[in-house]
Amino acid sequence: MYQFSGKLKSLSIILTVVGLIGIGYSFYTAPGSIEDAKEIIANQSSHGDDHGNNHADAAHTAISDSDSHHDASVEADSHHGAENTHHEGAKDVSNHEAHNEHDAHAEHAFHQLQNKPWSALYVSLFFFLGISLLVLAFYAAQRVAQSGWSIVLFRVMEAITANLVPTSIIMVLVILAASVLHVNHMFPWMAEGVFDPSSPNYDAIVDGKSWWMNVPGWTIRSIVYLVIWNAYRWFIRKNSIAEDTANDNQKTYKKNYNASVIFLFLFMISESMMSWDWIMGLDPHWFSTLFGWYVLASLLVSSLTVVAFVTIYLRSKNAIPGINDSHIHDLAKFMFGFSVFWTYLWFAQFMLIWYADIPEETTYFVARFNEYKLPFIAMVVMNFVFPVLLLLNSDYKSIPWFVVIGGIVILGGHYIDIFVMIMPATVGPFWSFGIAEFSAILFFLGIFIYTVFSAFAKVNPIPKGNPFLEESEHFHYYNIEHRGEGSGDHH
């Protein structure tokens, strides 16, 4: 049995506390009024010469706040116009029209600055929640496929899904904060008057989608997704442990199989809808039909990487009996394969929009390419070029430190991917990677370490009752030599 060491436990608690302090600090320092926001912007502009740009960009990402009754193509033009006017306005402050616009911008910028700590929290929350969720889905897929190789990793995967519980609870709080309490402006379509034709905030495009995008529907759906995922996790964890001692002619095993089939079906639907609601809804005018897949690919490759990390760590502590190099090799193959899969979906989405060049679609990439150029391009290199070059060679896939280096870059890249999905819509040009973002990562990492390793320490590290356990323990990918520990007894 694995012992959750006191050292690791205190590390996780320190991370959580430090993260929490940082998050608290970022909320405390967020501007409380428009005047504060103006001051922050003025301070920012005095540092650099991109004052005009900053504001023009703020106008650019103002999707529903400032432009309420244009259709999308007109809107793109008017943005462009605003950019020009304002650019001149920045040079000539006496320009009255620009000054008025400035106030509208200031309010918008104020909302974006207020969103900043929320968005930083949301990016990390979504990343960690998504990773736990996709580990759960991958685990269910292993059960449905009745795969043999992965049985010794079942308890590792189950342990990682334990993190779904705290992240879901925090997600519910964030969902309620956004929808019911209205304490942030991350989802512009939740603003007042968006669905009211007499309001200056009226948005005809969003109103047309009101059958889907409405606050009660969104809140209920969000909670339903979380309930479905957590219900399956609770069920499968309980019955997977029951499998160990069931000895009932595989009745429990078959029950788990059936539950996993049902879950995978519900998961594919709820994951897609989740990505529309939680991410695409941040940019309510924009849509992409493969967005659900794209988010899935990003989270899937991250989750496989996390499984590989936890496995490599636990293996170095000799905590997983029966594991050998071939299991690491297979995880690295998945990391490699899903990196390519992510690139395929990312590029498929990009290329069609780039090719067609329709303003209502290109706004998404214009916002990202103008203001997020570095993370946007770095992400493609980190998520595609690097994994391909590092993990292409079969021999490297079973060498733990190679997998760890590749994995760190993959995780970093996919964090940036989520960052670039969320930030342009919520904070626009005011993005940065500072205390707020870093603390949120630390906070969720601390929770992750605590929940995962305490869940792993609770039960037998291998699922004894699984009929494929023997196959998994003798798993040997024919093309590699076993070098690592635990491999001496096979072949």
Binding site: F347, M351, W354, S394, Y478
Partner: protein
């Protein structure tokens, strides 16, 4: 030309064959060749064959295909007959690069796959109209054949092979 004798041991199960190969190798006999109706995983290692370099050639064939695609799209779409791609008449290869990615991908795969197959044929000495050189047609059906050259050790080999589960052992002259 001096004729040399070889021993042909037949097996009808790949697992038995694999164990037999290991047994023969552990007695330090040289196995000339093993003929199989289908690929047997781990056989190359058991026989002590050097790992294939085919993967490395595939990588370079892929690079060749990628380079060819870049050259080809640039020549066809930019230089020879400049095209307005997607309403963006930039006439620059790099600015139109997203449109060429599918072509680059496909030609990379095309070159890697086809040239790798051709390399494999050449390396295995298989080419059109070549006469089959498997010693027994049953190796294309349900039998495995291990061929070991004999150097005055006929009896020792025969007894070893019959112990490994060979279903038939023949001694033949090989020219």
């Amino acid at each position: 030309m001096e004729s040399s004798k070889v021993i042909h041991a037949f097996y009808n199960d790949d697992e038995v064959l694999l164990d037999a190969v290991k047994a023969v190798k552990s007695e330090h006999y040289h196995i000339e060749e093993v003929f199989c109706p289908f690929p047997v995983h781990g056989l190359d290692k058991a026989m002590g064959l050097a790992p294939t370099k085919l993967a490395i050639t595939a990588f370079f064939y892929g690079i060749t295909g990628l380079s060819f695609a870049i050259w080809m799209t640039n020549y066809m779409m930019i230089e020879d007959w400049p095209q307005d791609i997607g309403g963006k008449p930039s006439f620059s290869w790099i600015e139109n690069m997203p449109a060429f990615v599918p072509i680059m991908f496909e030609l990379t795969v095309f070159f890697a796959a086809h040239l790798m197959v051709i390399t494999f044929y050449m390396r295995s000495r298989i080419w059109p109209f070549k006469k089959a050189d498997n010693p027994d047609p049953r190796t294309t059906d349900d039998h495995f054949l291990m061929e070991i050259p004999i150097h005055n050790n006929e009896e020792a080999l025969t007894s070893l092979l019959s112990k490994t589960g060979a279903v038939e052992i023949n001694i033949v002259d090989k020219h």
